[in-house]
Assembly symmetry: C2
Homo-oligomer: 272 residues x 2
């Protein structure tokens, strides 16, 4: 399966619950389908039981596209396992990729470390905020500005949108010189306003990455991280196995009886 | 060295910076020395550079005992490495143990997860709070009540001491039935008030643990945790080694070129 992948371009969508990520994703799907493109969506569900209602609503909304064969939606639960999710996400993306979808949107709910990490592991990462006092600052605190390739102020028809844009601009200035300055796009997803601008910003970022080998370098770095994570996970599982069962109990007994020191016992466990 | 250890009894002291842990430790040292007992002290320094001043003060105070050969003080920096410290602490305790100190006080500064874990890995854990609105609640939040075998309200001559004692009692009630109910001792460490009560509470807890094999079971559980941590650490170090160097780079290249999938590459790395 893996060997037939690599054709897809991934877009990460993240932001606080209620910011409108799902509606934006929905509109992007509509835009892509309208121009004849197929699209895969990987929806990362949060582990929190408290936001269950909101997500159900989002998912139902996305079901507009459920009967469309050009759209392939997969859901994944985080369950709070950082290691687990960082391994599972690239595999899930590959399934969508191998299914021939040229565009894959990874949508995360919530802004925890797990979600930030997952959304940040896309080719282009879109961070969604709303016009609210301090919303920009919150995004900064959560580490969202660092991973943002495109910033969206959604619900831009609400009071304070201009202030939020300005806040984000100031924070981007303070973050210093980068080889790509994330554009700030104002949208009203529910009215489909600004969706074309958002799409153009994504295409601009893609063109920037493709211009001088940056995309390949970025994907290489992700592969290195993934390979590292797989090796760590396998060794961790091996450690769990060694640290259970009769042999382990016997060695603990010997150490407790001062017949063996703990480091020598560890050596014996590792030699099995 | 290890084989000649096991004679020492360890006391963990933890609580927020400024709560008076060091002064209490100092007074306990004085009490032990007064009755002819030798004592080892393991002082765990915090990784935060901000509290440097306070600690220096504490250490200087403890130097009262620096010229006393019956007192052996060792300092250790946390540097934020949870794994590192949870491995280093039992080894440092063993050095004091092998030096023939029958009593070892492990004093931590700060109430982070690392400090709680280290102090909780003693035979008797003493948690120090002050009479302040909400101090008891803070202790509960930090997970301190869970690890406490003895609770101390230090600076008990200040306003609100009775309220804090009551708060702690309520929280202990809510925590439910345990085989040992932590006594609450009021002290004014700077005036040496309540130190005898604290010592009696520690001895009571020791007697409780020794009465029916609980102490051995508790130490066995700690040994199991330590052995597990050593095995994990060795495998982690092995993983780091495998995920660097030329071989790793070659495999990443192969994976990037879709000649190999990431899981097969991990297998190859693990077979080295």
């Amino acid at each position: 399966m893996y060997l037939s992948t690599g054709g897809a371009y991934t877009i990460g969508m993240t932001g606080a619950p209620g910011s409108g990520k799902s509606t934006l994703t929905d509109k992007l799907i509509g835009l892509l389908r309208g121009s004849g493109n197929e699209v895969g969506v990987l929806a990362i569900d949060p582990s929190s039981p408290f936001s269950g209602g909101a997500i159900l609503g989002d998912r139902v909304r996305m079901q507009d596209h459920a009967t469309d064969e050009g759209v392939f939606i997969r859901s994944m639960a985080t369950r709070g396992h950082l290691g687990g999710l960082s391994l599972a996400t690239p595999q899930a993306v590959r399934i969508l990729d191998a299914a021939g979808k040229p565009w894959i949107i990874i949508e995360t709910v919530g802004v925890g470390q797990v979600e930030v990490e997952v959304a940040g592991a896309a080719d282009t990462t879109v961070v969604v905020v709303n016009p609210r006092w301090g919303d920009g600052v919150q995004a900064n605190k959560a580490g969202l500005l660092e991973i943002a390739d495109v910033l969206v102020v959604n619900k831009a028809d609400r009071e304070g949108a201009a202030d939020t844009v300005r806040d984000l601009q100031v924070m981007l200035e303070l973050a210093g010189e980068r080889d790509w300055r994330p554009p700030i796009v104002e949208t009203v997803a529910t009215d489909s306003r600004g969706i074309d601008d958002l799409w153009r910003a994504i295409l601009d970022h893609r063109a920037h990455l493709e211009a001088d080998g940056r995309l390949e370098r970025r994907r290489d770095a992700r592969l290195r991280d993934e390979l590292r994570a797989i090796v760590h996970e396998r060794l961790r599982a091996g450690a769990e196995e060694r640290c259970s069962g009769e042999r382990f109990d016997q060695l603990v007994e010997k150490v407790a009886a001062r017949k063996l020191d703990p480091y020598a016992a560890a050596d014996e466990l590792l030699q099995i």
